[in-house]
Symmetry: C2
Subunit: 310 residues, 2 copies
């Protein structure tokens, strides 16, 4: 029915690569996987991933919920296909934007815009690298950009991972604000203002001196783009690394996040001590709070007594 490799392929991935055998025997199919995925994506775009229920998708197409299971084995598969559909292919314009840096920047921007158009993609849980046609195309485009550089294949993939992560991070934050914008009906300026005043009200100088200083400097009202800044710094670093490598001064590659010295955090006694500190800090906050509250009540009581006396 299908191909050799199919034996080991997870169902969802098999569907994504389009190696699902279309049956020949029964009645004609009235829908198609593409239609279903398209409808699901439209719902997700408009109302979020949470609004994508089998019933909702079916209703949008004019069928009963259960009919979808003739095309998609489970909701998880549908979501994988939605992801693939939304991911699409990198544009020709981005793929050929210029040198490696310009190309990666263009791919970054396109990914961020993608996350803004389909914010629900960020909600889909990740399990390993998705081995699907479109995500492979994105990887290929990124690797193509780094083709002429003195980096090894490993290093190129690491750089790609860096850029992809930056795009996703920007997407997460920006999509978060966009969602809040839609749900609360606040304008972007309002959100910024409200957040700033929330910080101003809650962050005290004694508990958070540096954060308070930053707030007073107006960081939460700042209008420059922190994500572009971050990407620029990262790519600066990559460029410097390339220069160093080109000079034959390749640093040795670092191993996985050392548990040798970072292991302090997993040491039992240390963790207990930390917990104690945490609880002490919590108690201090509670005590301060109580103090203020009691003072306030005392004031009120006094005021009430005066009123009564009159």
């Amino acid at each position: 029915m299908t191909e050799r490799e199919d034996l080991e392929l997870p169902r969802g991935i098999a569907l994504a690569w389009g190696v699902a055998a279309n049956p020949q025997r029964g009645p004609k199919r009235e829908m198609s996987v593409e239609q279903i995925v398209e409808a699901a994506v439209e719902i997700a775009d408009a109302e979020g991933l949470g609004a994508v229920s089998m019933a909702a998708v079916a209703a949008r197409l004019g069928y009963t919920p259960m009919s979808l299971y003739r095309y998609v084995t489970a909701k998880d598969d549908l979501i994988l296909l939605m992801q693939e559909e939304a991911t699409g292919l990198p544009s020709e314009a981005a793929r050929t934007a210029g040198d490696w840096r310009e190309t990666l920047t263009a791919l970054y921007r396109e990914q961020v815009q993608l996350y803004l158009q389909h914010p629900w993609v960020l909600e889909v849980p990740i399990t390993g690298s998705p081995v699907t046609p479109n995500s492979a195309a994105w990887m290929d485009a990124g690797l193509a950009a780094l083709d002429g550089t003195p980096l090894t294949h490993d290093e190129r993939l690491s750089v790609l991972l860096l850029v992809t992560g930056a795009a996703r991070w920007a997407g997460i934050i920006l999509a978060g604000y966009a969602r809040r914008e839609r749900s609360s009906g606040e304008a972007p300026d309002e959100i910024t203002q409200n957040e700033d005043s929330l910080y101003r009200a809650l962050i005290t100088e004694d508990a958070y001196p540096h954060l308070r200083a930053a707030i007073d400097a107006g960081v939460f009202l700042d209008e420059s783009d922190p994500f572009t800044f971050g990407l620029e710094r990262s790519l600066d670093g990559v460029q410097a690394y390339m220069d160093r490598v080109a000079e034959g001064r390749r640093p040795e590659r670092l191993p996985w996040m050392g548990l040798d010295d970072a292991d302090i955090a997993t040491d039992k006694r240390y963790r207990e001590a930390r917990k104690a500190v945490r609880e002490a800090e919590k108690a201090l906050r509670a005590a301060r709070r109580l103090e203020r509250q009691v003072a306030r009540e005392a004031r009120e009581r006094a005021a009430a007594a005066v009123r009564k006396a009159e």
Copy 2:
């Protein structure tokens, strides 16, 4: 009952700051918010955020589901409190690890470990910066690390955002693998191997030349840490930026991701053209697939005919 600022505070945040008025009138409370949150975190750590239902939390404490609503206004609030509990405070060791770079690296590592201990935190949807005591403490620690540097407050926050994003990205990927490890029962090596052979089977040289080359170079079997590599490059870039600024050569800050020239992607005609390309590529893949399949069926038919003839 509570304090002034409380009027504007979202409920969940009010609870996180502990400004929830404990009632005095009724029967003694048998539970506490802390107990509930703790139980919920334990469930989430062990079985994921999906396993945290009000019923499950209540059952773990020996109560009925509805009783929880006397302590927590809604499940969303519970999740915010869980997040705050899991986030905790940055350790003293990390906060005082050395110069800005060492400190930020230590904070990065601690955050990644945190995500590995509480992977469900990554599933909690983000809406704006969380204005809670513990997350404020992390920000404060990060800003403290950058205190002696020539950066402006804005730039410091951007650097922090960069490091936080890197940690989250590493957490997302690593937690994804950890989850798969647990759910499928594969060993880490096995997962790497399986993924590699999946790539090898599906990524053809004609469709994905650069990715295929990378695969052949063994990138998916590589054992160095791409996240540490990325962080190092990023911090290299930040260091270079500091040096430049210290010399008085501060570049002008870039504005928000320009929709001026990146807008090609939102141009209607362009998007339609892209979609057409996409569909053409899809059709090509389908045609190739069909070709192979038909060839295979023909072979089988021939074999069957031979068998019948015998």
